[in-house]
């Protein structure tokens, strides 16, 4: 137990009163990362379930692995593909890793630092929430995002997305999505258009996402041309440009299966979101006109395009900012899916609506829960009266 001994020695050095005390939260975080603490129960339930927040967050990180690994590979694939080069799996992956690693390191460092500072100030332990947020941020931005922007977004998200509300567990919005929204509105040139999605894109070539192209289409012929370029299989497997983690619907579904299996992500929210999105897409299909061919994109294709699957699986289900009641999850998910496609297709400014739809629903989640809980209370009172009437009569 050399490491344990070493940590104990270090911990004594950062105790209150010592000159190194400002490092206390950092060391505490490192310590609980390496070791499950020796804390014991004192009363009440003397035994406890082995699961803790760290395990839950770790499960989310594991669930993020399929789209993450695919995304890294796809960075390389898109890069070499547009240059017309033939490369193998490892070349693609290696290139992707070189591009992706700096982003994720900056994201973890910048946001993690803010977390540690706040934990130190508030005399709390560092919460595990950033384990997920720090990985989500790099996965939902274009590969060409400058590193300083990543850092700024991570810091903004941690301070204004979480800490101002009181830290993990109290935030209203999904912090990672807030980071993206921050970048989107502050630096729109870097977050949309046809230049940012492919690393090392040569000048004069368009690297627009299928969604970006579809939203620009003005005739049915153009729509068909785009479909000829990107097959449905490409969209499903993810061989398309886009934010780093969002492109492969298949990889996302594998992650979703893991989230559902472990019970960490709500299948109700996910299913409702897909139904909601499909429903809206279908409505738009009905009212599609030749002058607005975007509305004619088949409803199920919306599931494969852009950030829909990623957002609905990983971000909408965030246990803190999501609706909490079981009925509420159905309503919340359905409306999020519906709004995402509605915004995506009908707004003229941006080609994607998932981010805004989720943030909007984050805002309404407490209201949905409030109504569901009130309904529960009324039903409960009625049921109680009924039972009493039945069982107490002599």
């Amino acid at each position: 137990m050399g490491l344990r001994h070493f940590l104990d020695k270090l911990k004594r050095k950062v105790e209150p009163g010592s000159s190194l005390h400002f490092l206390y939260a950092t060391l505490e975080a490192l310590d609980t990362f390496l070791y499950v603490p020796n804390k014991v129960t004192t009363k009440g339930a003397h035994i406890r379930d082995a699961v803790d927040l760290k395990r839950v967050m770790t499960a989310v990180v594991i669930a993020l692995m399929p789209p993450l690994l695919f995304g890294i590979w796809n960075i390389g694939y898109e890069h070499f593909h547009i240059l017309g080069m033939q490369t193998n799996l490892w070349q693609n992956f290696g290139y992707g890793l070189i591009k992706f690693l700096p982003i994720v390191i900056v994201s973890y460092l910048a946001g993690g630092l803010v977390e540690v500072i706040f934990a130190q100030i508030n005399k709390e332990e560092v919460s595990e929430g950033y384990l997920v947020t720090g990985l989500l941020i790099p996965m939902i931005i274009p590969v060409d995002t400058p590193l300083w922007m990543v850092a700024l977004a991570a810091i903004f998200a941690t301070i204004f997305g979480k800490e101002v509300f009181g830290g993990t567990g109290y935030n209203i919005f999904n912090p990672a999505l807030l980071a993206r929204a921050f970048l989107f509105f502050s630096y729109p040139r870097w977050m949309s258009g046809d230049k940012v999605w492919i690393a090392g894109l040569p000048d004069g070539i368009s690297g627009a996402t299928p969604l970006g192209q579809l939203s620009q289409a003005t005739t049915v012929e153009q729509l068909n041309a785009i479909h000829a370029h990107f097959s449905v299989a490409d969209m499903f497997f993810g061989f398309i440009p886009g934010s780093i983690g969002e492109t492969s619907t298949l990889a996302i579904l594998i992650g979703a299966a893991f989230l559902i299996y472990t019970g960490v992500g709500s299948w109700k929210t996910m299913l409702a979101a897909f139904i909601g999105g499909g429903f809206m897409g279908w409505l738009l299909n009905i009212f599609a006109t030749p002058t607005n061919p975007y509305m004619a994109v088949p409803f199920w294709e919306h599931w494969l395009l852009g950030g829909f699957a990623f957002g609905m699986v990983y971000m909408l289900t965030d246990p803190v900012s999501s609706a909490h009641t079981e009925l509420g999850k159905w309503i919340y998910g359905f409306l999020a899916g519906l709004m995402a496609i509605l915004i995506r297709v009908l707004n003229p400014a941006y080609p994607e609506g998932v981010m805004l739809a989720i943030l909007l629903m984050n805002m309404f989640a407490p209201l949905i829960d409030y109504l569901v809980v009130n309904g529960h209370i009324k039903r409960r009172m009625k049921h109680a009266q009924l039972l009493n009437g039945m069982n107490l009569k002599i």
Partner: protein, 449 residues
């Protein structure tokens, strides 16, 4: 036909160290204690002084705010210590027992020979009134407020709990007498709630009661859960609950005139060599019981079950209402990267661990928290272990916000700490949920007084 109520939600924690059906008769131990902390929300005032001699049934202390509610000594002897804690709060009243117990004698009789007032008077004076617990709040009942129903749970579903079919098989006469007494003083229906999985239930022949059968997982045996599904408690109503053991004590009091708290308890848990039953008197020092049975030093001794019991010293005392002593390992160790790994050896309700592959395994669980305390995150996990039509997380949030109206409408009247014990067990943020429930109940009592 009794009604059968099947409930899906809940959790059985299959622990190692179940008590074997064997009884050890122990001689009287040297000291016994009555712990005011066993009685919720009372303020003890000293009656018997240090050094005084008492009989079994003599008053040791009473409640400052309801002086008629007295607490009496389980044995005769000399008061050798009144242990106090912070702000001189009395923790333990310790009585050195005589070799032969000298009982104070109370009037005997039965439900038809005595009047309601005589019975109540007898119960109060003997100290057995403390056996009658009132819902809401789980406090000692108010003799002046009649309940709408009386509930008795005839089984304990907690981990390692004693088998009531075994420990009460010779007490059924006293039990019937006690039931009749309760019917007389409450003027209400007596609900006898049975374990629906047992055939030939020893309680099935009790008269003067209304039967209901319950099938499900823990906390199915909690009387609070049963009340919820039979006669839910609304604002302003009260229900009385009495444990089977206390009904037997009441019956015994009226048959023999003695305040005799002799009972069978289970000694259980993975650290006990030979888990089985002991015949003791409530409040006994546990040292004589565990000294032969436990060799390991790094252990937790619990008066009560692992979910709701009280941590005691190896020379501590059995709680007034506790039907078992549980001994489990302490969990004061570090574990390297325990949040990673497959989790084959970790009991959890979460499928992030693979331990669900062994549903039949008997687990040895220790007292490690398995994580640090974190902010309250609503995960929906608590819903799955509370078989009541109550939203546990919303109720807890209402308590934390001290929102009386919301607590009321979300069901604070129907629950006590033990009903939320499993919620505490599954909480990922490692929050002391039962403590929050207690806070909520305290706030309600304050609000209503």
């Amino acid at each position: 036909m009794p009604r059968i109520i099947k409930l899906k939600r809940g959790l059985n924690i299959n622990l190692k160290g179940k008590p074997e059906k064997k009884i050890t008769e122990l001689p009287l131990t040297e000291t016994y204690a009555l712990k005011p902390t066993d009685y919720k929300f009372i303020t003890p005032k000293v009656q018997a002084k240090l050094g005084e001699r008492v009989k079994a049934g003599d008053v040791l202390f009473y409640d400052k705010y309801k002086p008629e509610i007295v607490f009496t000594s389980p044995v005769s002897g000399e008061i050798v210590n009144i242990r106090r804690g912070e702000r001189r709060r009395i923790l333990e009243y310790i009585v050195k027992a005589d070799e032969q117990i000298d009982y104070k004698l109370f009037p005997t009789g039965n439900a038809s020979s005595l009047t309601r007032e005589e019975i109540i008077d007898n119960l109060i004076k003997s100290g057995l009134w403390a056996a009658i617990i009132q819902r809401p709040y789980g406090i000692i009942a108010d003799p002046n407020q009649a309940p709408k129903a009386v509930h008795i749970s005839t089984f304990d579903s907690a981990p390692l709990a004693p088998d009531y079919q075994f420990i009460f098989k010779d007490d059924l006469e006293d039990f019937q007498l006690g039931v009749d007494i309760m019917a007389k003083i409450s003027n209400a229906k007596i609900f006898l709630n049975l374990d629906g999985t047992i055939t030939d239930n020893i309680f099935a022949n009790v008269k003067n009661v209304e039967f209901s059968s319950f099938i499900g997982k823990h906390p199915i045996g909690n009387v609070g859960v049963q009340i919820h599904h039979l006669t839910p408690i609304m604002k302003g109503e009260t229900v009385w609950t009495v444990s089977v053991q206390d009904i037997v004590f009441i019956g015994r009091l009226f048959r023999t005139g003695k305040y005799d708290l002799t009972r069978l308890i289970a000694l259980a848990g993975s650290e006990v060599k030979n888990p089985h039953y002991y015949r003791v008197i409530a409040g006994t020092n546990v040292y004589d019981i565990i000294k032969q049975q436990v060799t390991n030093k790094n252990i937790r001794i619990i008066s009560g079950n692992v979910l709701t019991g009280t941590k005691i010293d190896k020379k501590g005392y059995l709680g007034r209402y506790d039907n078992m002593i549980t001994v489990i390992p302490e969990g004061n160790y570090y574990e390297f990267m325990a949040w990673a790994g497959l989790g084959l050896k970790k009991f959890s309700t979460s499928w992030t661990f693979l331990s669900w592959l062994f549903p039949k395994k008997e687990w040895v669980l220790d007292t490690n928290l398995h994580g640090g305390v974190r902010p309250f995150v609503i995960t929906g996990r608590m819903d799955k272990v509370l078989p009541m039509d109550i939203m546990p997380e919303y109720l807890l949030k209402a308590i934390l916000a001290n929102d009386i109206d919301r607590m009321e409408s979300l069901g604070i009247y129907e629950i006590i700490e033990e009903d939320f014990a499993l919620c505490e067990f599954v909480c990922v943020s490692k929050i002391e949920i039962q403590d929050i429930v207690r806070q909520g109940i305290a706030a309600m009592i304050k609000e209503m007084s």
